[in-house]
Symmetry: C2
C-alpha cells in the first residue's frame, strides 16, 4: 500500500517481462473479439465514454430492447439520475414518461435465470448465494443451484431497473453496481451486461442525497449525450474489445492465483475467492 510497494511492483513487472510465460499467462488465441453489436457506447457530458459489453445469450429479449433503444437514439438527452453509495448508479429517463420506440417490448419475460449451467470453471470454495459459481467460456461470472444458472451481480455488472414484481423493466432504465456485490438481486432482476470501460465515471459521481440515492432537486443529474451500438458507429470510431476466454488451463491457473495471492505482499493465501473478485479480464484489441 505504500509507495515502496508500488516501486517494488513495477520492478517485479519489469523483471517478469523477460521471463518465460507463467502457467496463468494467456496466449494470443485466448483473447477473443467481442462482436461490434455486443458493445454499447454511452457518452456522458464532459467527454466521458462508458463502454458496456452486452450479454445477449443470457437476456436476449432485454438486449434486443437495448439495441432498439440505442438505434432510436432514445437515451440521447436523458441522464444519470441516481447514485446510491455502495449500491448502484442508475440512468435513463427520470420522468418515466418518454414513450418507448416502436418494437421495444415494454414488459419482457423474466430473463433472470437460464436453463443450464454453462460455466467451465468452478470456484474452489462455496458461494454464499448459490450451490456453485464460476465462469462461462466467454467470460461471464455465473452461479447455479444445480438446475438453473444465472449471471451474478458483481461490481460493474449492468442490470435492468424495474418496478415491483412481476414487472421486469424494458431496459430503458439501467443501473450498474458501484459497491459490494448485491447478490441478493440475483434471480430477481435481469442482468444485461458489464461496464468494461469508463466505470470510474459512473462510480465516482456525487451520491444522490434523496431517498435511495435519487438526485435531490438541488442536484444536477449527469447528462447523457448519446448511446450507440459500436456496430452503428463509423468504423473509425468504434471501440474494439476482447474477452479472455475461460475454457483453457491458463485461465484456470489465473483463477487459482486469484484464490491464492502470493508473497512478498501476501503471507496468508485465502484458499478461495468470491466469484466477484475474479472477474474475467477484458482488453482493448491490439492495433494491427
Amino acid at each position: 500500500m505504500h509507495i515502496v510497494s508500488l516501486i517494488a511492483a513495477l520492478l517485479q513487472s519489469t523483471a517478469s517481462a523477460a521471463a518465460p510465460p507463467a502457467p496463468a499467462d494467456p496466449v494470443e488465441a485466448d483473447w477473443r473479439a467481442i462482436p461490434d453489436d455486443e458493445l454499447m457506447v454511452m457518452t456522458l457530458a464532459g467527454n466521458r465514454r462508458v463502454v458496456i459489453r452486452l450479454a445477449p445469450r443470457y437476456a436476449p429479449v432485454h438486449v434486443d430492447n437495448l439495441r432498439k433503444l440505442a438505434r432510436a437514439h432514445w437515451w440521447d438527452g436523458t441522464s444519470v439520475y441516481r447514485v446510491q453509495d455502495n449500491y448502484v448508479t442508475q440512468w435513463g429517463d427520470v420522468t418515466e414518461k418518454k414513450p418507448l420506440p416502436a418494437g421495444v417490448v415494454a414488459n419482457p419475460p423474466a430473463e433472470y435465470v437460464g436453463s443450464r449451467y454453462d460455466a467451465v470453471t468452478r470456484m474452489t470454495r462455496p458461494d454464499p448465494y448459490a450451490a456453485k459459481s464460476g465462469h462461462s467460456a466467454d467470460g461471464w461470472p455465473v452461479a447455479s443451484d444445480g438446475k438453473a444458472a444465472w449471471l451474478t451481480h458483481c461490481y460493474a455488472m449492468v442490470g435492468v431497473g424495474r418496478d415491483m414484481a412481476p414487472s421486469t423493466g424494458s431496459g430503458a432504465e439501467l443501473y450498474t453496481v458501484i459497491g459490494h456485490a448485491p447478490r441478493h438481486l440475483d434471480r430477481n432482476i435481469a442482468l444485461v451486461g458489464r461496464v468494461i470501460e469508463g466505470m470510474e465515471f459512473l462510480s465516482s459521481l456525487p451520491r444522490g442525497t434523496g431517498n435511495m440515492g435519487f438526485y435531490a432537486p438541488d442536484q444536477v443529474p449527469t447528462p447523457i449525450l448519446s448511446v450507440r451500438l459500436a456496430s452503428d458507429m463509423p468504423a473509425a470510431q468504434r471501440p474494439h474489445y476482447q474477452f479472455r476466454a475461460a475454457d483453457n488451463a491458463r485461465f484456470a491457473a489465473w483463477l487459482r492465483g486469484r484464490e491464492n495471492r502470493e508473497p512478498p505482499f501476501f503471507t496468508v493465501p485465502a484458499g478461495g475467492a468470491d466469484v466477484c473478485n475474479a472477474m474475467p479480464p477484458v482488453r482493448k484489441a491490439p492495433v494491427r
Copy 2:
C-alpha cells in the same frame, strides 16, 4: 428501481410506523454508545466530515498508534492521495518522510487475527474466505477458521497501509474499501475500524490515473484539514454514535431478513448472504 418503487417503499414505511414491532426491530437497549475515544473525526477540505469507528479490541497497538497520531495532529495538512476504482481510497503523508510522533510504534506486531472467535451470529451459508463468518456482539463483521478469528475487509472498513511483509505499517497511512470486498487482504493486513459517516466523500473522489490509483502529478490530492479523536474535541462538537448490538434475537431476525429479502420487490430469497452484505447498523445517538 423505478420511481414507482420509491413511492411504494415510502408508503410501506409509513404503514409500518403504526404497526406493532416486527421481530427484527431493535429495542432501545440494543443501541449502545460507541465511546468517544473510539471515534475518529477526519475533516477534509470543503467541510466534508468523515467519522471512523475504531476497533481497539482487534488491533490494540495499531489503534494506540492512531490515537497518538491524532493527538499529535500528525495528519493535519496531509492528504488523500490514492483512489483506486473498486478497491481502496488511501490517505496520509504521500511523501512518507514526515517523522512519526514520539511513542508511535513504527512497526507493530501483525494484529491480523485474534485468538478466539467472538462472533455471536453465524451466516447461514458458507463463506468463500473462511470456515465461518458472523458478527461480534459489539457489531463487527468477523470470520474464523475455527481457531483464530479476524475482522473482514468489507466496504468502508479501514485498514493500515504497509510495505511488503513482514512490514505491518504504523497506521500513519490508512485506507478504506470503496468497492467489492477485497477479502484476500484478510489476515494479511491490520484492520482498525470502519467509516460510519461521510463514506461517500471517500468513495466518490476522482480515481487516481497513476499506477494502482495513485494520483498522477496533474491531479490534486484532497487536503486533510484535521483528524481528531472525539474525546479530544470540545463536548459541543463531538459526534455521538451507537452501534446495534448483535447479541439478541432481534438482530438474529434482522440478519435472517438480510439473507431472505421479501416481496413485493423480491420473488426469490437467496437463503443466505455474504457477511459484507450484512454490516451491523450504526446510528447517531438521539438527542436527549
